[in-house]
Symmetry: C2
């Protein structure tokens, strides 16, 4: 096919009426897999348009531009019936590769599945919610509700620790597009559309239940928090002689053997096993004796600078990593020590920034980098291409304030 | 179709040769969407078979059973050429719905794409890795490397805080199956197979870059950690008069207005805006003055017990939630206050446990609950059904120790 990128979703068109992390990150992934993502925003931008972090250079949101890379942007007056009609027409345009929409709008009955399916019976809509009953929720409210902050942070401390990473949001986005592609598979075979709903709170509950944590709490009561120790096996952080910090993990017997060997502690642990009557090859025993194990190992790390620790642990095939601040991660990538998943772009409105490719590689090959659109940049192009509007019609829409000037 | 479940991936067969969280959780989601997931393990189980949490009642892993619900289990001697041959045959079986494999095996050249594609040119393989260069990594080592623990935890504290939730693992699993379904879409249309690789470290790097955090750190240096405050707008936890804790968020002007109104603090904040010359309708100003705002609001929460706080915040449509321990989450669900996403099953080997359905609903409808298989439970059934082995052949495999007795 001339001009084909060979990407698996090439040709597919997805209308995204969503904001913040979940919908935008999921749809961005579909875009990286080749789909044409049309992000629809209200004129002036959605509630996430100024979300932090923002660039000090220009005031533009680094968050919004990072989450909307490679998309086309359409800006419409979503309060006007005519603007709403345009969105419905985009979402239900005819053609095998159209008729797919992702939204996270609470209280927008005009964009309901009933409305869309009336226009196109095989439409696929994935509706992302806070709670399944339609009440709003965000990652920061959902996470405390499912018990994770009470498990996080220093042992013995009473106060729960919120996570900073909006993990449930990211997971919800990817779950949403997994459901979308499954529904598309069915539509390709049977012609049937689908209305899928996904609540962030359900993603989080299913997430903690999905690792057995809910069943554990019901059977055994609340697990005590254990600081930076990994749960149920051995893994914890150590300070090095030069004030750096490393995370060291011995999940499997082989990793545990490697750690003992490189630190020269085999005899110490053999004697400990003898005197305590335990077998530290059992991961549960390593967890139970985690503080003891860490105390035996600590002097080895304190006696070495990070460079030495790196050399020796790597040579011994220990499973470990070094802690970095975000600034150090960026600096390391700039110095060439990063990963091919990070590249750079000249982001219009901001300037040169580090940016991510899709982590999904075809063989060894990463996909290209991309920039985010200017808000409303593609309004005319998309309405012309998908709905067949001509210049006069587009001009009328701008004049009536139905779409932003583009 | 008689007997059809109507699930979108019905008929699809995926061979899973993976352990721990990423591959198993991603494939479980495909199973919940209707696919037949065949999990292949070594005889005796993979490295995750005893992973914590484990049931005190029976010693069985609550983690393994939660991550492998609804799958069929095949147990094979993966060191023997004959056992490896069986896995290759399962992964490359003919038929439109076969020829899909997910693995996370480092150093298993016998299960390489080259080997598989030689047997079936349109095979789809998704290979999950630690690092893109093949070195091992786990969530607990990757997260410190990408800078998140340095952003997490109490403001001013020097020590990084590891997250407890293996967020990158969960996200990698769902990213892997998103890639898988995209490749399947292409195969259905073009007949082409695919070899996709996904490194956990890349998922994490792309994750932090994907919210603009990497670009921010490069431009502005390291952000200081800010405890339980939400970044870039207003959101923080408050203690209630009865010693409970709530998370309160005012991301948007409307949420901020609701919070001021219900707490009766409009005049205080108006006066503060006057004297400080700021506009707290700007989220960046709410973040800058977060400690001041929290200090003004705190007495309102301290003067009320959780029941009152709940009633008043809900009536005012404030965005908030209550902190719970995992045990409280479980108890609340048992008391009927949970979500339809959680159900219960009688898990063979363990007994009655709380378990999750898929958070993806068709309309309002959740899918069914499911139990995990016994290790190797379906070895005979699967090898008979997919490879056409008869009883004598299966008996021979058992006798030769190639598969576990089933």
């Amino acid at each position: 096919m001339p001009g084909s990128t060979g990407k698996p979703l090439e040709g597919l068109r997805v209308v995204e009426c969503a904001s913040f992390v979940a919908g935008p990150s999921g749809c961005m992934t579909l875009g990286q897999l080749g789909a044409d993502i049309i992000r629809v925003d209200p004129i002036g931008g959605g509630p996430d348009y100024q979300r932090w972090p923002v660039s000090e250079r220009t005031g533009k949101s680094l968050y919004w531009t990072a989450l909307n890379k490679g998309k086309r942007s359409v800006a419409v007056d979503l309060r006007s019936p005519e603007g709403r009609g345009l969105v419905i027409a985009l979402a239900t345009a005819s053609g095998r590769d159209n008729g797919i929409v992702v939204d996270n709008n609470a209280g927008r009955p005009w964009l309901s599945y009933e409305v869309l399916a009336e226009r196109r019976t095989d439409v696929i809509q994935v509706h992302i919610q806070g709670y399944a009953d339609g009440r709003p929720a965000v990652d920061y409210t959902v996470n405390p509700e499912v018990g994770v902050p009470h498990l996080t942070g220093p042992a013995g401390s009473g106060d729960p620790v919120n996570h900073v990473l909006p993990a449930w949001d990211l997971l919800a986005g990817m779950t949403a597009v997994t459901g979308l592609l499954a529904a598309l598979h069915r539509r390709e075979r049977s012609g049937q559309g689908a209305f899928l709903q996904l609540a962030l709170h359900d993603v989080a509950l299913a997430g903690v239940a999905g690792m057995g944590w809910l069943a554990e709490a019901e059977e055994q009561g609340d697990r005590s928090r254990h600081g930076n120790h990994l749960y149920g096996s051995f893994g914890v952080d150590f300070a090095t002689g030069d004030g750096r910090r490393v995370m060291v993990v011995a999940l499997t017997p082989r990793q545990w053997a490697a750690l003992r060997t490189v630190t020269g502690t085999e005899k110490v642990f053999a004697a400990l096993e003898d005197v305590l009557g335990v077998d530290l090859d059992e991961e549960s025993e390593r967890f139970r004796l985690r503080e003891t194990i860490a105390a035996v190992l600590r002097p080895w790390f304190e006696a070495r600078v990070l460079d030495e620790v790196t050399r020796e642990l790597d040579a011994a095939h220990v499973l470990w990593s070094g802690y970095r601040t975000m600034g150090e991660v960026a600096a390391e990538i700039r110095a060439g020590g990063g990963s091919g998943v990070i590249g750079q772009v000249d982001q219009p409105g901001i300037g040169e920034v580090l940016t991510a490719r899709s982590p999904l590689r075809r063989g060894e090959e990463y996909g290209p980098v991309a920039t985010a659109p200017r808000l409303g940049e593609h309004t005319g192009e998309v309405l012309g291409e998908v709905l067949g509007l001509d210049g006069a019609e587009l001009g009328g829409l701008v004049d009536r304030g139905v779409v932003a000037p583009f």
